[in-house]
Symmetry: C3
Subunit: 154 residues, 3 copies
């Protein structure tokens, strides 16, 4: 089974490809067999995953966890766009997740699990990664969560 | 002298090993000869290093610096768990330190020095690293400091 | 044309070299052909780029973008100090930019573009990078922006 088939089996799908023409940045950049992936929010999605607000106040942990799943899917899209196929990924190395947190919100782990579970679900042992989860004050476009990552590929 | 002997000479000791069974993440992941280490707070310690609150308000810089030392020790534990021995580390490459900061607190450097000094003390020249220190709004479990890192090993 | 000549053509210049003697950290560290660069604020500059305050409140997006350009120049200085010449850089891999944000400020992208534009301007296609832009609560020395990066070199 390919990774994209497994993704479909998990009931998930990639957002549409994104145009980065004439930009100073892009979704992912390779160096050697490491792929450094930009911070992704779920804003690429036509609907559903985009959530504005602070987690622990106007946004629930459950909803933010869903937004983090959207971040993971947006990351997967950038991986496909850069190296052609998710089947080339040999290891999910590291995630760094940022959660727009209300004062006193301390469960950043549960939010970023929404992204981590996608990767562990797709790649099993090779999807188990190092991770940091941080509570930040603001994120671009008011989004409640942003995730970046480092991947190994062949 | 081994690095663990030097650690003991500095009056420091590793926290107990941590179980990551059935988790989507772990303490550290290797790719090539780089080791990407998760963000660590001092919550693994039985006592003493764990400090909740914002630095510059309820937590002093001195106490937060001690907590950052605890982060460094927790990182060292994850390195041992992943590659077997601190003696395999050939370079401390990069740290990223997050300090839960009260409004107007600008001395994140002094806090993260609590971690940096452990690495520079253990490895000398090879322990001198690139670093970023950031003031964040909240951290998991209310902790006042979290540190992640990249290490090179043989 | 060398990269330093292109920098001059863009009307920009490097800040003075920085002494890191007897420090636990430095501006940049190599591992293999990757160069991990510390978080830089524009505080190395004799004048002009240093700006304290929160973007969206006392600091305008335009001024913060200029400060981010200063961060890029400070990063370039650390690259020169570590590997001797900007001409050895083969790829700008990844930037992580932190913007001290006032409540409700959501345009971290435009601020960090001040750094990204320097790299894309100097290296063209090879300067187009992965990136994350984050809104944080406080930064060292009260600065409004800090940028770190990963570069590939030969």
């Amino acid at each position: 089974m390919t990774i994209e088939e497994r993704l479909a089996e998990m009931g998930l799908e990639l957002p549409p490809a994104r145009a980065w023409a004439n930009s100073n940045r892009k979704g992912a950049v390779c160096s050697g067999n490491l792929l450094f992936v930009s911070g992704h929010t779920p804003t690429e999605f036509p609907e559903g995953y985009r959530i504005e607000g602070a987690v622990g106040a106007s946004v629930s942990t459950t909803d933010a966890r869903h937004a983090a799943q959207g971040c993971a899917l947006a990351i997967l899209r950038s991986i496909v766009d850069e190296i052609g196929s998710l089947d080339r990924v040999t290891r999910v190395v590291k995630l760094l997740g940022f959660v727009k947190s209300a004062p006193g919100f301390h469960d950043q782990f549960s939010v970023i699990d929404g992204a981590s579970d996608v990767f562990a679900g797709l790649w099993g042992e090779a999807g188990v990664h190092a991770r940091s989860a941080i509570g930040v004050f603001e994120l671009p476009r008011g989004q409640c969560v942003e995730v970046e990552g480092v991947f190994e590929f062949r």
